[in-house]
Symmetry: C2
Subunit: 132 residues, 2 copies
DNA sequence: CCGCATCCACCGTGATACTG
DNA sequence: CAGTATCACGGTGGATGCGG
C-alpha cells in the first residue's frame, strides 16, 4: 500500500459512475422538460412539445427527442399519414426515472431559498469590492 | 377546449424549474464526485480530493469547490497555518441532496444495461449503413 | 406536420505555469 | 499545501433555411 496511486480512488466514487451517466443523459436544458411533459400527458406529439415547452427550438427538441429515444427512455411512433404524425411516450424505465426525479424536485423546493441566500451572500462577500 | 394556446405551457412544467436548478449545480463532471466523497469522508482537504478523484485538474477542483460553497452545499474552513490547511464538509442541505442522489444511482444501476442495449441497437439501426 | 442541415456564439473543460 | 492566471479546444445550444 502506501505506494500511492493505485487507480482506485475511493470506495464511494464507484457509486457515482452510473449516476453521472444518468445526469449526462438528463442534462441539457430540455430533456427534463420533455420527460416531465411526456409523463404527464402520456402521449405527446411533436407540435405539442413545441407548444408546451416555451422557448425550445425545433433543433433542440429534435435532438433531445432523439437522444432520449436512443437511450431507451422514449418510444417514437410514426404514422406515415398525410400530414405525418409522430407520437412519443415514456418507456417503463423512464417512468421510474421521472418518479425519482420528482424526489429531487422536492429537495430543490425545500432548499432553493437557502441556496439563493447563500449565493447572494457569497457574491456580496467575495465579489470584487472595487479594488481601486 | 379546442383553443388551447395560452402561453402557459403545462402544469407539470412548473415542477421542472427547481429541478433544473438542482441539475445545473450538480452538472459538470466533478460536482457529484466531490459531494459523494465529502459525504463519505465527512471532512476532506484539498489534496485529498486530488488523490480521491482521478483525472481532476486543480483548476476544475477549485471551481467545483467554489461553486458548491457558493450554493451553500459545502463549507470551507481555512486554517492560516504554515503550510496552509483547508477543510471542506457538507452542509445539512447537501447531505439531504446526496441521499436523494443515491436514489438516482439506484435507478441508474437498475437500468444502465437497458440503456446501453438501447443505444447500441439505435446506433446499429440508424447509423449510416455505409452510404457508398 | 415533422424533421434535418448548416453556420455560428458561448462556456465548461483541460493543460500549463505561477504564487502566498 | 492550496490555490490563481492564461490560453486553447470542443460540445452544446441558438438561428435560419430546406426537404419529405
Amino acid at each position: 500500500m502506501s505506494q500511492r496511486n493505485t487507480r482506485v480512488p475511493h470506495e464511494a466514487l464507484g457509486e457515482i459512475c452510473p449516476l453521472n451517466e444518468v445526469l449526462d443523459r438528463v442534462s441539457g436544458k430540455w430533456a427534463i422538460g420533455v420527460l416531465t411533459l411526456t409523463g404527464a400527458e402520456g402521449v405527446v406529439r411533436f407540435t405539442e412539445y413545441e407548444r408546451g415547452i416555451p422557448d425550445i427550438s425545433r433543433r433542440m427538441l429534435t435532438l433531445t427527442l432523439r437522444n432520449l429515444e436512443r437511450d431507451g427512455l422514449l418510444t417514437r411512433t410514426v404514422y406515415p399519414t398525410v400530414p405525418p404524425k409522430t407520437e412519443y411516450r415514456l418507456t417503463e424505465a423512464a417512468h421510474e426515472l421521472t418518479e425519482t426525479l420528482s424526489l429531487l424536485t422536492d429537495w430543490a423546493k425545500r432548499h432553493q431559498a437557502h441556496v439563493h441566500v447563500s449565493r447572494t451572500e457569497y457574491d456580496a462577500t467575495h465579489a470584487a469590492p472595487r479594488p481601486s
